[in-house]
């Protein structure tokens, strides 16, 4: 669409200039064969005039958008560079600026500057600059705290250069989107100004001016306004589509397909032993866009009351495997498996939400993002109990408070009323575990639950998971990159590398570099940092 507009803008004035400005005998005609959109009061062809006006309008809109962007980004960066007090004043001014509708600001500025297309362009540029300034100031505030900006400052890079080198390039995407939107806005505003007589002055004309002429004769010759109106809508849509396209390209989530779970027919599933809680057979997960296999042919069993660990580095497919079990496969991935079965329920088919909630509980890596910051712990953690498992509010609260006590959170009743930000990382993770306990799930999926925690807190959290396992008999699928952690907690360990299981270790207690077979496991073991002490009770220990 934009292409069409540009071509029209370039070609039309060359070809149709005479038709657009030349006078003809039949003034004020309606739609005829010679003049499909009619003629104006001086007998000029409206179709030609509309097409010729394209150039004028587009150039003006482009100029005003460019002006707005340069002015706004410049101001936004300048507020960051300014001393603290000036910055605060600047930010308030920008907020004041954007709090008025752009068209209103444009009209006021244009009224001050006088009539004509030039002043109109400047007016709209100034009116739109506020939006750019605010976006820039917001983005800069976020970017300036990034470590590479701080590092550059410490290196002694002058502030102006930091802005040019690090700040402006890193905010290109949102700015481009805003440019497209501002352009669409500028088209309409420009036409608006011309429409009320502040923009293009006769004999110059743009779409707004044409609309103005047409509107005065709307009862006698309605066809006159068709040309400029359609052109205006067409151009605004083109700009908005470009903006949407840019936004979609900048956001990788928009173009991915939903995740799928497919049963594989070719591999026959063997019967299960009675004590198997979770069975996964021949699981392969493919990334749809690249066709790459993230997980290939993984089979695993978890028995009731067992803790199974999956170890591997980032990108080994361990988290993806876990996401299949909890039916939380990410978008754009396709999983095929011969069997995914959890205590008799087939997870490849449709599983009702409450059913799944009763069977599987999750603890995530980052307790900071797993909890909704706007809700109290009591509210969000009892949600699953009341809405899916059908407990009454009262029971759910009592249940959760009891488990808060189990995970040794101090003042359990008080914690129910607290918000996540009032808790430390370790406490949040304990609250998550308490919530997992409250549903009495058969399987706990723990995806790197201690990676974000200090060693002392890690030990407490691991202890809690172990307790949950021994007292409630919950099976655990524990995912980690740290063999040391896994070794301390798990009954059996699977080692994953590049989406495959390279080794299964059944005897975790006697896992030494000599006992493991695969070189990768050996490498992982050697890399696991272990404190070397020469305390007497350690000597002769098997490490």
């Amino acid at each position: 669409m934009l292409g069409v507009l540009v071509v029209v803008a370039v070609v039309a004035p060359l070809v149709l200039h005479d038709a657009a400005t030349g006078l003809s005998g039949d003034a004020n005609s309606g739609s005829t064969g010679a003049h499909p959109l009619g003629t104006d009061g001086l007998g000029r062809d409206m179709l030609a005039r509309t097409l010729v006006a394209t150039r004028q309008t587009l150039i003006a809109a482009t100029l005003s958008t460019a002006l707005a962007a340069v002015l706004g980004i410049g101001l936004g960066v300048a507020t960051w560079l300014a001393p603290r007090r000036v910055r605060e004043v600047g930010l308030r001014l920008i907020e004041f600026w954007v709090s008025y509708p752009t068209l209103l600001v444009a009209i006021i500025v244009a009224a001050v500057l006088g009539q004509g297309l030039g002043p109109a362009v400047v007016a709209i540029g100034i009116a739109n600059a506020g939006g750019f300034a605010r976006l820039t100031a917001n983005l800069v505030a976020g970017l300036a705290a990034r470590e590479y900006v701080v590092t550059a400052r410490l290196m002694g890079v002058p502030p102006g250069r930091i802005a040019v080198r690090h700040l402006i390039p890193n905010m290109a995407e949102p700015q481009l989107i805003l440019v497209a939107q501002a352009f669409a806005g500028a088209l309409v505003e420009l036409s608006g100004l011309s429409f009320i007589g502040l923009g293009a002055q006769s004999p110059a004309f743009d779409w707004g001016a044409l609309l103005n002429e047409g509107a005065s004769k709307i009862y006698t010759n309605p066809v006159l306004i068709v040309g400029p109106s359609v052109a205006l809508v067409f151009a605004s849509l083109a700009a908005l589509f470009v903006g949407d396209g840019l936004a979609a390209a900048a956001n990788p989530r928009t173009n991915t397909s939903r995740s799928r779970l497919v049963r594989r027919a070719d591999a026959a599933a063997e019967p299960l032993e009675a004590d198997v809680l979770l069975a996964v057979d021949h699981l392969t997960v493919r990334h749809d866009a690249s066709g790459r296999d993230l997980v290939s042919d993984v089979s695993l069993r978890i028995r009731r009351g067992e803790i199974l660990g999956i170890v591997g580095e980032s990108g080994s497919g361990k988290s993806v495997t876990a996401s299949v079990v909890s039916k939380l496969l990410a978008e754009g991935l396709t999983a095929t498996a011969a069997r995914v079965e959890l205590s008799g329920a087939d997870l490849l088919g449709r599983v009702p939400g409450p059913e799944l909630a009763r069977r599987v509980a999750m603890v995530y890596q980052d307790p900071g993002t797993a909890l909704n910051p706007a809700l109290t712990l009591g509210n969000q953690l009892t949600d699953v109990l009341t809405s899916t498992l059908g407990s009454s509010r009262r029971d759910a609260r009592e249940n959760l408070v009891g488990h808060f006590r189990d995970v040794l959170l101090t003042d359990p009743e008080g914690r129910m009323r607290q918000y996540p930000h009032q808790l430390s990382g370790g406490m949040k993770q304990r609250a998550m575990i308490a919530s997992a306990m409250s549903t009495r799930a058969e399987l706990l999926v723990a995806d790197e639950p201690t990676t974000a925690l200090d060693v002392t807190v890690q030990r407490e959290v691991l202890g809690l998971i172990k307790r949950m396992n021994t007292t409630a008999g919950t099976s655990v699928l524990f995912i980690s990159h740290d063999l040391g952690v896994v070794r301390a907690l798990c009954d059996r360990v699977l080692v994953m590398k590049d989406g495959r299981i390279v080794e299964t270790i059944d005897d975790v207690a006697h896992m030494t570099t000599e006992a493991v077979r695969h070189p990768y496991t050996r490498q992982l073991l050697a890399a696991t940092p272990v404190v070397h002490t020469s305390r007497p009770e350690v000597e002769g220990a098997d490490r």
Partner: protein, 259 residues
């Protein structure tokens, strides 16, 4: 150079009414590495920021590389900049410490020459340093997103060492990495340290990691150094209860249990 490279005496820092550091003392000779251990909130990162000169101390003395850090801000800009080049910090997160829109070469050139940042002029030195941290010289023309976390951390290390500083402060540089990558980075640090005779402050919450690279250990708890001494002594015979608790919390440690 005479005297210790880092000499911190009774350092105190407060943010508003909260005391973050208090009565912290630390002494480090040239070429030594101190490992600073403690949990989050113990003040280790604040100590690092004082040493680099981002946070102003409220009390005590801090002298690094014969420069009094307290008066850094009040003296000429030139002196402050000179100091900041001699004391380098390797940031924690390799994903946010490199600008996504600048090539590795540009990032390193900026460290060498903050104002102009010309890659061409310093090409040889950049290539030499990339190879030194175990990356191919042609990494220069590539962007950070083409590298893994471990490789980016190598770039970050190269950036702080390329200016040939006297002191390097490494703040949790391996905590965002997988264990196998962490081991490679620790080996790299040990190798470079031995080669250049660097003085280093290595901050981590992981005792095992600290043990691998340090000569001296300082254990911090709630803004205080509760125990400090040579590595062998602290690990073999911890005096303070908190140090013992830290040691026992390590999953590989003999005192570890999930009771």
């Amino acid at each position: 150079m005479s005297g210790p490279m880092i000499d911190v005496v009774d350092l105190g820092v407060s943010f508003g009414s909260t005391r973050v550091l208090h009565d912290v003392s630390l002494r480090l000779e040239t070429g030594q590495t101190v490992g600073v251990v403690g949990e989050s909130g113990s003040g280790k990162s604040t100590l690092a920021k004082v040493l680099v000169g981002i946070v102003e101390p409220d009390a005590g003395e801090v002298v690094v590389a014969n420069t009094d850090v307290r008066r850094l801000g009040r003296r000429s800009r030139r002196a402050a900049q000179d100091y900041r080049r001699r004391v380098q910090m390797v940031p924690q997160d390799p994903f946010s410490s490199l600008s996504p829109r600048r090539t590795i070469g540009q990032t390193l050139a900026e460290a060498l020459d903050p104002a102009r940042a010309s890659v061409r002029r310093h090409e040889d030195r950049i290539a030499a340093w990339l190879e030194r941290v175990g990356l191919p010289a042609d990494a220069m023309g590539r962007y950070p997103h083409e590298f893994s976390g471990g490789q980016r951390q190598r770039v970050a290390i190269a950036r702080s060492l390329i200016v040939e500083p006297s002191v390097v402060i490494a703040d949790e540089i391996t905590s965002a990495l997988d264990v196998s990558v962490q081991a490679q980075i620790l080996d790299l640090i040990a190798e470079i340290k031995a080669g250049l005779g660097l003085t280093m402050v290595f901050i981590s919450h992981n005792l095992a990691v600290v043990q691998r690279v340090s000569d001296v250990v300082a254990v911090m708890y709630r803004g205080e150094v509760v125990e400090a001494g040579p590595v062998e002594q602290i690990y073999a015979d911890p005096r303070h209860w908190y140090t013992r608790q830290l040691l026992d919390a390590d999953p590989g440690a003999p005192g570890f249990s999930l009771g």
